[in-house]
Amino acid sequence: MAELALTDATEPTPTDGDAWLVQEAQRRPAAFAQLYRRYVGPVHRYIYSRVGNRADAEDLTAEVFTAALRGLPAYRERGAFAGWLFSIARRTVAGHHRRARPTTRLDDLADPHAHDPDPLAQVLADETSADLAQWLARLNEEQRELLRLRYAAGLTYRAIGEVLGKREAAVKMAVHRLLARLHDEWEVDHAR
């Protein structure tokens, strides 16, 4: 198991540094490297949590940063850069799922992941993580997405709100409830 890497140190909060880096990168695309270094870990972790294998996660991560590099001149700071970047990541993963399922009817694409098990469940080895994966699999897609954006991508509540089109307070409340529910169910499961 990898060491815990997602901490505040890598949390892509919408910082002043981000705004400056974005301005620099818009003026001089070579400066994009610093944004890349800041976000490559969170983006890869998020995508990996969606697709469940490293090869696809790496391809899609590359796609996301290529799209971000090309789209950066059109980006206007209306919210967190992280929110914008992860919107691209979500769209990219959605496109990947569509390509992988060419016979899916259009109606099914309204929520292309509605029936996907969390792919991480397949790769977790230790018991706690396996329990956690099982619990995640019982959540609906929206709940899983909240946790991915918070704990795989490391987004702030505000940035998650921008990505999902929800109010920050609503996101915060939903995450709190999920944590409390997980804690309660965890205790019940382990008390049996």
Partner: protein, 773 residues
């Protein structure tokens, strides 16, 4: 951890488990490095036009991936074969003409090869609920299908990042299948979208958009479908639809060892576009953009118009610039980097015979290898400031790191801020940015910086990692690259083909009868310059009272803030307001800093009249006049006041109540609130203004000539109001000690030595173009 969550210990345990769970997705270091290299290569291509045809960058990337010696050999061989075939078949004079015939300038896309392309013969538009979606052009070739859109009447709530990220578009083909959008470039009200190539036998398609570009869900009608009919781009159609580029002769200049040349130009009815080729001698240098210097590139014609660089728009003209690198004293090698930047300017005057592109300075990135250590005082805390005496040679600059500060940022993280002097080098070069090496130690997460032109200082700040304790003694810093601004100017001048030899002379009138009088003041047009692109009007007060001067012609109603400048002719035809992208300066004026909306407050730049118009009338709501008057007042900055980060805006404090009243020039001024705002790494106190003067009566318009005395007895710089010059109704002044970076609380004394007064009209100035009164 996420400090903003109030979790109980058990929930924190759950959070830890989730973090560990998702950490299995950490990327492999080799992948991170590989992707960074790929992105760096793409950044070179992206430096140019974001909207140009993608075929060239892809070929270029493939070319770059080839070993250098092979690239050179293959390139030379291919070039010789192509030239030999072309010259043999056509003769040398016709080669360029044949190449040119295949090229066309397409606004929103750039210079494209039209051979075997299918195009839209005329724009197609749809209107729904007052919003117009217009497909300006479609270029379908073997490589891709490019669609250029514009939209008008968009709702005022503006664009959103989500609107950009969630943008989807499809081309529905006659057989029911569809092509999904690949790359796209979106601007407010415009977009260029690239789709996969259309099948060769397809000439009709339907463009389907879920939403208009950059609009959030629900902001405007959705699910648009526009039927498109294409035709082969052959014969006279090409020259009718697309501006044909030409190769300007002699458009080249060398300064500071860097040669820039314009290699391609096109003029369309709404735009002018260029390509610049650059050669420099140091192989380690990179020039990412000709727009990276201290001022933006400027295009000037021989009539006196100055054209400001603008984002490409439908119907623009374009100039393309290419940069080639040749190693000094060595066999010429292929360029390590190519800059292909489409600079779009407003369409130049139809009467211009000669154009000059001026690039005031260039920003050059160069690698350096400098390391130093910032010693930390024992027990250092946020807010501490301590002197340093570190001397470095950075790219030939004798850099002196003089001060360090530990600053708590608005995000709560600490930053190590350094101040550097010695950044002005020989030949006028200036060190304007520093990039640190990768934070291998994990001590910092990123860096930011700013260049202080007035103080000739560079401020450089490392965003410290809160999860790693500060080292006990020192923080190591490695500088990986720097940006150096190299002064020019480069002036690239060329003749516009097919135009007369002598430049047109603008008509300048001094219409003595163009006057208007209100509230005892008479305003007179002192000079009106008419060209085919604009009218420039200069006005002044006629025989004003002593000590009264014209300060500004006011274009907006100060009560409603609505634009209220109108231009009409004798037939009642109304013309659009100001011309922000084109201005005019007297002949012989070569300065480039005056491009843009005119800040000369006594002048207006207006659109040109229709050819047969004989009389022009300009109406605007008021004027502002400068009058003498003295007043002083005190304002106190409370202790412990904090700034808070604002999304997309400078950090602000909460406003606090004040009660400041004083008389000036028969008016009583009152301020009820004050607020701190961070601007350019300084902190200013702003007095929140009272409501502006109403439209119907004279009133205070601004306070001028402020002098500040701070709590320590020292003066403080004042903040000009953007676009309003030195007089403003919202006075602001610095309250930060530049030595410590701390806000200095206490009482500040403010002296005002003059004021501006709004004098309502409406003012009407009218004159005859034939010179009749």
């Amino acid at each position: 951890m996420h400090a903003d969550m109030a979790l109980n210990p058990a929930e924190q345990g759950v959070e830890q488990a989730l973090l560990r769970h998702y950490a299995t997705g950490d990327p492999a270091p080799a992948f991170v490095e590989r992707l960074e290299r790929q992105l760096n290569a793409q950044a070179v291509a992206v430096t140019g036009s974001q909207t140009r045809h993608e075929l060239a960058p892809r070929l270029w990337q493939r070319w770059r991936a080839t070993p250098r010696s092979l690239r050179w050999a293959a390139g030379m061989a291919a070039l010789l074969v192509i030239l030999a075939l072309a010259v043999g078949a056509l003769g040398p004079q016709r080669v360029w003409a044949q190449v040119q015939r295949l090229l066309g300038y397409v606004p929103g896309i750039g210079f494209v090869n039209l051979a075997d392309a299918r195009v839209l013969v005329a724009p197609v538009q749809l209107e729904r609920d007052g919003i117009t979606l217009r497909v300006e052009q479609v270029i379908a070739d073997a490589g891709r299908t490019s669609v250029v859109l514009s939209s008008r009447g968009l709702p005022a709530q503006g664009s959103s990042a989500r609107g950009a990220a969630d943008f989807t578009a499809r081309l529905r083909l006659p057989d029911g299948s569809s092509l999904n959008a690949g790359d796209y470039a979106l601007r407010w009200g415009a977009a260029t979208i690239a789709f996969p190539p259309l099948p060769s036998n397809v000439y009709t398609a339907t463009l389907e958009l879920d939403r208009l570009p950059l609009l959030p869900p629900g902001a405007a009608p959705e699910n648009w479908a526009v039927a498109l009919a294409l035709r082969p781009a052959t014969g006279p159609l090409v020259s009718q639809l697309f501006a044909e580029p030409y190769q300007p002769a002699g458009a080249s200049d060398t300064q500071a060892g860097i040669t820039l040349s314009v290699v391609q130009v096109a003029h369309s009815p709404q735009t002018t576009a260029l390509t610049l080729r650059g050669v420099w001698t140091d192989p380690t240098w990179q020039i990412w953009s000709v727009s990276g210097g201290m001022t933006l590139p400027v295009l000037r014609d021989d009539i006196g118009h100055l054209y400001r660089e603008a984002a490409p728009a439908a119907g623009d003209s374009t100039v393309a610039v290419e940069v080639i690198h040749v190693e000094a004293g060595a066999t010429p090698a292929p360029p390590p980097t190519v800059l292909e930047q489409e600079l779009a300017f407003p369409a130049v005057s139809a009467l211009a015979t000669r154009l000059t592109l001026t690039i005031d300075s260039l920003r050059v990135s160069m690698p350096v290898d400098a390391t130093f250590e910032v010693a930390l005082p024992p027990g250092v805390r946020a807010g501490d400031c301590w002197p340093l005496d570190i001397r470095l040679d950075v790219a030939g600059f004798p850099v002196h790191v003089t001060d360090a500060r530990l600053v708590e940022q608005a995000t709560g993280r600490l930053a190590l801020a350094l101040e550097l002097t010695g950044i002005t080098g020989q030949d006028g070069r200036t060190l304007t940015a520093i990039s640190p090496g990768p934070a291998d130690s994990g001590l910092w997460l990123g860096a930011s910086g700013s260049y202080d032109d007035a103080g000739q200082k560079l401020r450089f700040s490392l965003d410290l990692n809160p999860d790693i304790p500060l080292p006990a003694t020192a923080i190591p810093v490695q500088i990986e690259s720097v940006d150096v601004t190299v002064p020019g100017p480069w002036r690239l001048s060329w003749a516009v083909p097919g135009r007369g030899a002598a430049p047109a002379v603008p008509i300048t009138l001094r219409p003595a009868a163009a006057t208007d009088t209100h509230h005892g003041l008479t305003l007179q047009v002192t000079e009106a310059t008419h060209t085919d692109r604009l009218i420039r009007v200069v006005a002044d007060l006629q025989n004003p009272p002593a000590d009264v001067q014209l300060y500004q012609l006011v274009r907006r109603d100060p009560g409603s803030e609505q634009w209220a400048l109108t231009v009409t002719d004798e037939q009642g035809t109304r013309y659009a307001g100001d011309m922000p992208d084109v201005v005019w300066g007297p002949a012989g004026e070569t300065g480039v800093s005056d491009v843009g909306p005119e800040l000369g407050f006594q002048a207006l730049t207006l659109p040109p009249l229709a050819p047969l118009a004989r009389r022009v009338t300009v109406t605007f709501p008021g004027i502002a006049v400068l009058r003498p008057g003295r007043a002083s007042f005190d304002v106190t900055v409370p202790s412990g006041i904090q700034l808070q980060a604002q999304a997309g805006r400078p950090p602000l404090s909460d406003p606090w109540p004040v009660d400041i009243s004083f008389k000036i020039g028969g008016y009583t001024a009152h301020f009820a609130e004050a607020q701190l705002v961070a601007v350019n790494e300084d902190v200013y106190l702003m007095l929140v203004p009272q409501p502006a003067a109403g439209s119907g009566r004279p009133g205070l318009f601004g306070f001028c000539g402020l002098r500040i005395t701070g709590p320590t007895g020292a003066g403080a710089p004042t903040l000009d109001a953007l676009g309003q010059g030195p007089c403003t109704l919202a006075p602001g002044f610095a309250v930060m000690d530049p030595a410590t970076g701390e806000i200095v609380p206490g009482m500040y004394q403010v002296e005002v030595n003059s004021y501006t007064e709004y004098v309502p009209g409406p003012w009407r100035l009218s004159w005859d173009l034939t010179g009749q009164p």
